[in-house]
């Protein structure tokens, strides 16, 4: 196998594993929000693994983009890393990948700087994860050369199932309870105009 093919395989491989990492990140993120323990991990363990999975995923995306930049098949230009839908190869699907990468940078940066930007800004930006995952998923389906294969479809299906189940749980009635019966805190009412 020559170098060019290796880059191509590496590019696709890192992309797929990144998707799995972000799937894990989504599920663990929702579990963190729930305040529950899971998979034998403490609450801290859940949050920590969520963080680790996301950073691992980010690293894989960097490798994914990096290898594809040097791969002649991908025809990736530097501008395609930031501005979506300008690429030469499958511009629509690749554009989604660029968009996902942009969102990823936003989410990771705001998370690392969360103590500086405060809880409200952090929460607002972190919510874009709900946009990030579907965009990344569609990018994988559309751009991925392996998209037609059985194993790819199986992995993609598994990821979609996991995220779908997690989001379903997130939107359910029982999610809000932290496992302790209590009167919930209330948001202060709108300010009375002077």
């Amino acid at each position: 196998m020559n170098l060019v093919n290796s880059l191509w395989y590496l590019g696709r491989g890192t992309g797929l594993v990144a998707l799995v990492m972000f799937t894990l990140t989504m599920v663990l993120g929702i579990t963190t929000r729930s305040g529950r323990q899971a998979l034998g991990l403490s609450r801290f363990g859940v949050a920590d693994l969520h963080k680790t999975a996301s950073l691992t995923g980010t690293g894989l995306v960097a490798a994914h983009v990096g290898t594809l930049l040097f791969d002649p098949y991908a025809q990736l230009k530097l501008v395609d890393l930031v501005f979506p839908f300008l690429a030469a190869y499958r511009p629509m699907w690749l554009g989604l990948g660029t968009l996902a990468a942009d969102l990823l940078v936003l989410i990771v940066a705001s998370s690392l700087l969360r103590h500086r930007i405060g809880p409200r800004a952090f929460k607002a930006l972190h919510w874009s994860a709900y946009a990030l995952w579907p965009v990344a998923f569609l990018h994988a389906l559309g751009t991925g050369t392996d998209a037609g294969t059985v194993w790819f479809r199986a992995i993609a299906f598994g990821c979609a199932l996991a995220v779908g189940a997690a989001v379903g749980w997130r939107t359910s009635q029982s999610f809000a309870e932290r496992g302790f019966p209590r009167i919930p805190r209330r948001q202060p009412q709108k300010a009375v105009p002077r």
């Binding site: 209590r182 009167i183 919930p184 805190r185 209330r186 948001q187 202060p188 009412q189 709108k190 300010a191 009375v192 002077r194």
Partner: protein, 400 residues
Amino acid sequence: MTIAPTLVAPPDTRRLFAAPGPSLAQHRETYGDLPVDVDLPDLVEQAGLLGRGGAAFPSARKLRTVASRGNGVVVGNAAEGEPASDKDRTLLTVAPHLVIDGLVLTARAVGARRAYLTTARPEIARQLRTEVRRRRDRLRIEVVEVEDRFVSGEESALVNALNGRPGVPSDRLTRVWERGVDRRPTLVHNVETLAHVALLARFGADWFRSVGTPEEPGTFLATVGGAVSAPGVFEVPYGASLTGLLDAAGAMPARAVLVGGYHGAWVPGSALDSTRMSRTSLAPHGASVGAGVVAVLGRDRCGLVESAGVAAYLADQVAGQCGPCVNGLPRMSDALSRLADGSRDPRLVDEVQRMRRLVVGRGACAHPDGTARFVASTLRVFADEVAVHLGGGCSAAAAR
């Protein structure tokens, strides 16, 4: 410091209430113009003035802090969320210009160009706006109405309301004198404190200290209510006897007296004669003068029943932001109410005590702490009544 030569310092303990009346003309006639060249921080420090809003914080300290930071804002607070208190409203009706004088002098001392007066009553706001307009101070004074809730007058809640946010307290790690209205250092003074400043600036620290106690100099306004024939607001020197104050209001024979308002404590009937309105005399009962609220519990009432009512009100008045308070206060109040209503379950007492300990210090403001203090005092002073209730009776029912 210049004092108007024809001005006569109030000779006795009738100081704030010696004011001639609400109009600016009357005020100027009695007190002359605002004194100039006043070194207010020094004066206030020498006078030993303590805040009259309930916390009794040394006023000079807050003044110096905000003055040193510059670019500050001053707020005269008459929000008076305490239902049993009427002194701020009364003061503003009787001597609004003493309050505004104090506001202007304080603003000058800290270099503030903007000041606010806050109240929860629309009629007071209207009156204040009228009186402010009549004056010609260079200070920009804005009169702001805040919500009529128990926590509205809390310092950070007030500042939040002035910043256009919901009027609930903020976390106390950042104090308002560091960052408050429009992110500026903010000095919040109760309106009564400001009125004392206005007199102090004219008559001096020695005069101010000539009544009261060395630790708590001067006079304060007390709101006396409950089982009294002549309820109202009285001006009293610190250290005055509690029974003297009760007599002035025509109090009936009392089971106990609540001192310091709903976050205060009960003084039992047996201790009334020996109790004075001072920190040292009230401390053994877990009470302090606070904002001067004195409520008399008549012999025809039950201390447990009345206290349960107060606790229920306090539980209802939570801002709702803090988990331990939002959960703990209703639980504490429910247990107390069930005791008052005649439940004979002794575990209820343990539940009240447990909740009381669980909520202290676990909120953004002092609401859970004050409520816990009141409830602790209730169980202590009315311990006999609790025993009566657990036995199926009630002293008040028997008294009737």
